[in-house]
């Protein structure tokens, strides 16, 4: 194999983090750009230096132990990295997209930041890359958890990057805490794994489980659900999705990288990684699928009524993540991972495009104040359009293949309801995406004059990544052609197959759909997507939003509800946050201060009081002293020889 060890991949960004973090402020932006981007570039190079031979080779998993880590009692955990098809897939686009976004950031962040802020931003980004790569490459759950929480930390830091704003830090904290709720599940899941398998090592766990399903299956449902709770937290699924929209408070490249392309997909990655466990726990699978579907449609609905360009993208992300879990839930893990990849391309592209728009509009986010930017920002427009079409699933763009695979998977798994909802969601997606495209680029400019003056295309450092990502989202899908197209068949399927260990004494349900059905499905999804696009374009580009306004006017309550994201945040505030604070106060003021200290102080006070009273027995009158003496004698007399 290559001389370059795997640990180098995460190590390089870590070095970058230390460099930018410790010296960045002193040495200035130029240094930071070089180190910050350079480290990631190097990591990417190293990663591909390992990937290409791997892809060329037989895809046999590679495990490299870097060091021993924890050994207590009979528990062992190592720092070990793994390169297998799954991690390779993630690695390929995480490094690459990450690199692109670093480049983009040099342009995006340059103007509005002090040296310190600039250094801070890039050190965070590097730290994120380190964590994400650790997460991807880890060979055991514990090390994955290191990356898992690491990315959570970075997202916390980057969301709260504009810490002077009142909103950003709160959003960051929200993200971290909600993620922690998920991590709680993850932890319990790991404990369960240890009790079942005695180890957290992938091979140890999965092979044992695959070898002897009968023994482990009963316990696995609960474990799988615990793990999924973790995934739901990280990947913003119902009911833990609420942090992701707020996370848009962070700089746009962050939204692109962390909250669209990479981190949020970690949950999907984890579920796919644990496919053995999930496949042994059908009930858990069902839960995953249902949750995914609900998330998908719910988020899509909310996205319909948002006017903040980034919010729309955020909810779209949530929705797409729902898709991915739907895929995993119905057993189409490949489709899920496929969508992870394609989504990384087009959603990153969309976010960066949005960033470019903001950049042009001097920070404006409200679509109602935009319009007609098509001419002013051509590059942004075309790239954005490409990505939008991709996400809508218009063939032959990337999104089409992955989304179609998912829907096919759902149908295939005999879950018509889920399929139907998925299909509906596809339509909604198409609608709100093109609502956005229309509001932003079509029509006439609705912003202020200053903005109009100021509008300009972004620097190449920003546009180049846009173009690259646009191309990828255009062609990225060809790695996974459905069976009906092209004899080469589904390359990604074959590529990923090694990670789906065959389960002993359970024949994998391998019934490919008849071609006719498959054609029908394709047709349906394309039609729905096209319909959505057409309607959106008609209503918003041509009629400039009259119809929807009428609808909104017709059902004000409903509209408000949707626009307010179904008031989920308010709900949580009422049933979780407030009660928590209340109980905390009670514990402090009542139990601690009143009860415990009260009792103790009362005791002390009583003793003191006794003293204060008893001292008055000392009257100063010597006769009383003689009397006490005599009383003492008498008492003694009675005690010792009462009636002799």
């Amino acid at each position: 194999m290559s001389a370059l060890p795997l640990w180098l991949v995460p190590a390089l960004p870590l070095a970058g983090f230390l460099g930018t973090g410790l010296l960045g402020t002193r040495l200035g932006k130029r240094f930071v750009s070089i180190v910050g981007v350079g480290s990631v570039a190097l990591a990417t190079v190293v990663a591909y230096a390992r990937l290409l031979p791997f892809l060329a080779g037989d895809h046999a998993p590679v495990v490299e132990r870097a060091a021993s880590w924890i050994a207590a009692g009979d528990f062992r955990a190592e720092i070990a990295f793994r390169l297998d098809p799954l991690s390779a897939l993630m690695l390929s686009f995480v490094t690459f997209v990450g690199f692109l976004i670093h480049v983009y950031s040099t342009g995006y962040m340059r103007h509005d930041e002090t040296d310190a802020g600039y250094a801070r931003f890039f050190s965070y980004l590097n730290l994120f890359m380190f964590s994400m790569l650790t997460l991807v490459l880890a060979q055991n759950f514990l090390l994955m958890f290191v990356g898992w929480e690491g990315v959570g930390l970075c997202s916390y830091l980057l969301i709260g990057y504009y810490y002077e704003q009142p909103f950003a830090p709160a959003a960051g904290k929200k993200a971290f805490v909600v993620n922690r709720i998920g991590d709680w599940g993850f932890l319990l899941g790991m404990f369960g794994l240890v009790t079942q398998f005695g180890t957290l090592d992938y091979d140890g766990v999965f092979q044992a489980a695959a070898k002897d399903p009968g023994r482990f299956a009963p316990a696995l449902t609960l474990i799988a659900l615990c793990l999924f709770l973790g995934a739901a937290g990280k990947s913003a699924q119902v009911p833990l999705y609420v942090w992701l929209p707020d996370a848009m408070a962070g700089p746009t490249p962050v939204s692109a990288l962390i909250h669209a392309a990479t981190m949020v997909t970690a949950g999907v990655y984890m579920v796919a990684r644990c496919n053995v466990l999930f496949r042994l726990a059908p009930d858990a699978m069902l839960v995953v699928a249902v949750i995914g579907t609900i998330t998908a449609v719910l988020a899509a609905l909310i996205a319909l009524a948002q006017n903040d360009i980034k919010k729309v993208l955020a909810y779209s992300t949530v929705s797409q993540l729902g898709y991915m879990f739907l895929a995993c839930g119905v057993g189409a893990f490949v489709a899920g991972m496929f969508h992870v990849m394609t989504h990384a391309f087009f959603k990153a592209c969309l976010f960066l495009g949005a960033g470019s728009v903001m950049h042009a509009m001097s920070g404006e986010l409200d679509m109602r104040k935009m319009g007609g930017l098509k001419s002013k920002l051509p590059t942004t427009y075309w790239t954005f359009l490409a990505a939008a079409l991709a996400i809508c699933g218009i063939p032959p763009l990337a999104g089409f293949f992955s989304k179609d695979a998912i829907l096919a998977g759902a149908f295939e798994a005999g879950k018509p309801v889920l399929y139907g909802v998925g299909l509906l969601t596809a339509g909604l997606t198409a609608f709100y995406m093109f609502r956005m495209v229309a509001r932003v680029f079509a029509g006439t400019f609705r912003g202020t004059h200053e903005q109009e003056h100021h509008v300009h295309e972004s620097p190449p450092s920003m546009t180049v990544p846009l173009i690259v990502l646009a191309i990828l989202s255009a062609v990225g899908g060809f790695v996974g052609l459905p069976a009906v197209l092209g004899d080469r068949g589904n390359r990604i399927e074959t590529f990923l197959s090694p990670i789906f260990l065959p389960l002993a004494n359970r024949e994998a349900a391998e019934h490919a759909l008849p071609h006719a059905t498959e054609w029908l499905l394709i047709a349906a999804s394309v039609a729905v997507a096209a319909g959505g696009i057409a309607l959106a374009w008609k209503w918003y580009a041509k009629e400039n939003g009259r119809v929807p306004d009428r609808i909104a006017a017709a059902y004000p309550g409903l509209y408000a509800l949707v626009a307010d994201k179904f008031r989920v945040d308010e709900l949580y505030d009422a049933i979780v946050v407030r009660p928590f604070a209340g109980i905390a106060r009670i514990c402090w003021k009542v139990i601690d201060v009143l009860v415990i200290d009260g009792v103790l102080n009362a005791g002390a006070f009583l003793v003191e009081l006794a003293g204060d009273l008893l001292r008055f027995l000392q009257t100063g009158n010597v006769r009383n002293y003689a009397l006490t003496f005599l009383l003492g004698v008498v008492a003694l007399m009675l005690v010792v020889m009462g009636g002799f």
Partner: protein, 103 residues
């Protein structure tokens, strides 16, 4: 029996004297009288001791009493001196009125 006197009589008498002294010490307020009562208690002790001594036919009793009387005398001198010294400050030796030091 001491000669024709039963020891019981002696002891009862001494007990009575002791009790009376006790009562005086506790009930009177003039320091001197209190001290007188205490002297009486000592004499009660003396009476008992003499009674026992005679009954047991030993001389030790008388000697003990002799010492006690001497001690009583010494106490009296010191005590009276103290009364006088205190009287210089308070113009009284009524112990109810002497309670500068208390609590």
């Amino acid at each position: 029996m001491i000669g024709k006197i039963p020891l019981g009589d002696v002891l009862v008498a001494s007990a009575a004297l002791f009790a009376i002294g006790l009562a005086g010490a506790l009930l009177r307020r003039t320091a001197i009288v209190i001290f007188l009562s205490i002297e009486l208690m000592m004499n009660a002790a003396n009476l008992a001791i003499l009674g026992y001594g005679a009954a047991l036919g030993t001389v030790d009793g008388q000697i003990a009493v002799f010492f006690v009387i001497a001690i009583a005398a010494a106490e009296a001198s010191v005590g009276l001196a103290i009364f006088v010294a205190l009287f210089r400050h308070t113009e009284t030796i009524d112990v109810n009125k002497i309670n500068l030091l208390k609590w």
